[in-house]
Amino acid sequence: MSVGLTGGSNPFRSVSRRDTIRKWHSHLMLVLCIGAVLIALIPLLSILFEVFRQGLPALSYDLLTKRQYFQYFAGGGIANALWGSVLIVGTASLIGMPIGILAGIYLSEYGQGRPAAVVRFFADVFAEFPSIIIGLFAYGVIVVWTGHFSVFAGAFALSVMLVPIVTRTTEEALHLVPDSVREAGLALGLPRWRVTGSVVLRAAKGGLLTGSLLGFSRIFGETAPLVVTIGGSLFFAKGLDDTSSSLTYVVWRGATSGIHAAEVRAWGAATVLLLVVLAINISVRVITSRRAER
């Protein structure tokens, strides 16, 4: 090993051919990674651009207030589908959210050892079930049993999807509540169930809200389970037992119909869907990342 390389060119500067190649290889690979970001951004921008370009002009008072016409006819709206979506997703939330939140409380506050680990694992796997399988389940249980398609069958399917999602987000939200909050509640002499029910849940309400909103937006955009459960009617659903359409259903039928009038309604429905879903997601993400930075 040589010591005392005085004079001459700086050995830290004069890099060999190999080093130059390594440096450029590094630059190239990192540029490729940045390229990957661009590759992902192109479809995102294209989807947003196209949906709003074709859908925003279609959004009119008529579209939002009139029911669907037979697909070959121009005009008409998507109001029945909008109503259907609200009814289905609303019912699904009423069924699925409480179950999910309670199960999440169990995992976070009471769950220990093997039983909780099993539930947690089931919830994780369950949350990734193909949605069409859930639709098939609802079809086999509700549609076959009642003998007809219905809002309730769709709502049941979506509530089943919602349960594992809400369970895990609730558990995570409650985990973030420090134990000192629980201790403070218990020290006041509150029974444990009231500490959980009021103190802990209140402390975690931000996380619960964002989790529920994300779950809501997920089932709001869901199509596959509805395709096999709600029947796709052109009329306003009169109740949970009636057939119905949904925004996502209109997009699917319209896009695959090959009929211009139906395609226009599909773009319009897609715009409404996207506006709702993006509004929820962007606000939730911005709020949570702000909170995380703090």
Binding site: M29, L30, C33, I34, A36, V37, A40, P43, S46, I47, E50, V51, I99, G100, I101, L102, A103, Y106, G111, Q112, A116, A117, V119, F122, D124, V125, E128, P130, I132, I133, G135, L136, F137, Y139, V141, V144, T167, D179, R182, E183, L186, L188, G189, P191, R192, W193, R194, F220, G221, V228, T248, W252, A255, T256, A270, L273, I280, I282, R285, S289
Partner: protein, 346 residues
């Protein structure tokens, strides 16, 4: 990760309020039924008992639903297995034929090829994004960029399908596939007339859809790599990319693998976007530019109007899909579970 240890066992007496703590509000008498109920529930054991069992039964519902789904599919699909039997192994799915044919193999093939291809196309891009988000991007860029990428996951799949039909498929048909046929046609993978509605189109659309999932998990995996590992490589004179290749990616390899497997599970179960662009042809394909079909897509298209053996056969398809998805999924969850544990210890 296990839940926080409860501070007190649920049936142990909670500490008393203390001399000052006998909380006035809590102690104030309430009138009416509500007050009565509250006082009854303040017999703490009862209230706790009710509440614990309420949450526990919700947890049981979670497990019960999974069991119920499996049972329901089994019961509804059983007649088909009995009636069709080895017919499922046939090369054609033609429920309207004379006699009806229920060969599931082309659908299984279609499902696996589209999902596998999507993984091949999507995972490198997702890893690239994860590397940018964890290694390169300054914090100012990082948060907004990951929010934007994750918006891709928020877009409903039917909107992907709509975009696929009207934008992606025509674009690929006019601008990409002719070139692909000219340069790679000799491989035989790209034969036939390219209508745009094909296996490859579905795979590309699926790839776009799994990118946010895979990249979000991968980013977390890479961020969990200790700084000491990066410094070890840097101190050896590694270039920035060499640090990634030598220290970061190997350290996170099981997590990255788990992220990809989860992406595969998503791709296999995806229904609407695929059914809208794959062309819905229930037969074997050899060219990636041919139309084909997948199990979820067949389910979405046929359950609506099926009955009898056909309906039962669809449930049987559902079981096949379910088993494939479940196996892959459990595998992914186990990989990621181990990662979470290790993360908790570090």
């Amino acid at each position: 990760m296990d839940g926080p240890t409860p501070i007190f066992p649920t049936d142990a007496p909670p500490p008393s309020g203390g001399p000052l703590g006998s909380s006035a509000q809590e102690g104030s008498p309430r009138k009416g039924l509500r007050g009565l109920l509250l006082r009854a529930l303040r017999g703490r054991r009862l209230g706790d008992l009710v509440f614990v069992n309420l949450t526990r039964s919700a947890a049981v519902v979670v497990v019960g639903l999974v069991v119920g789904i499996v049972a329901s599919l089994m019961i509804s699909g059983k007649p088909a297995f009995e009636a069709i039997g080895s017919g499922f192994l046939g090369p054609e799915w033609l429920p309207g034929g004379q006699p009806p044919r229920y060969g599931a193999l082309p659908l299984v093939w279609g499902t696996l090829v589209t999902a596998g291809l999507a993984l091949l196309l999507g995972v490198p891009v997702a890893f690239g994004i994860a590397i940018v988000l964890s290694e390169l991007a300054p914090p100012v860029v990082r948060t907004p960029l990951s929010i934007v990428i994750e918006l891709l996951a928020a877009i409903p799949s039917v909107v992907y399908g709509l975009w696929g039909i009207f934008i992606l498929a025509p674009f690929l048909r006019d601008s990409v596939y002719p070139g692909l046929q000219a340069t790679w046609g000799w491989t035989g993978l790209f034969g036939g007339a390219a209508s745009g509605y094909s296996v490859l189109t579905a795979a590309i659309l699926l790839a776009i859809m799994i990118i946010p999932t895979v990249s979000a998990i991968s980013r977390e995996v890479l961020r969990a790599v200790p700084v000491a590992q990066r410094e070890a490589a840097l101190a050896l004179g590694a270039t920035p990319w060499e640090v990634v290749r030598m220290a970061v990616l190997p350290y996170g390899r099981s997590g990255l693998f788990g992220a990809s497997v989860l992406g595969l599970a998503r791709a296999i179960g995806e229904t609407m976007a695929v059914t809208m662009v794959i062309g819905n042809r229930n037969a074997f394909f050899s060219s990636l530019l041919q139309p084909a079909n997948t199990i979820p897509s067949v389910l979405a298209n046929e359950v609506f109007e099926a009955s009898g053996t056909h309906l039962s056969a669809l449930f049987a398809l559902g079981i096949i899909l379910f088993l494939v998805a479940l196996t892959i999924n459990i595998f992914a969850q186990l990989l990621l579970l181990r990662l979470r544990r290790r993360g908790a210890h570090a």
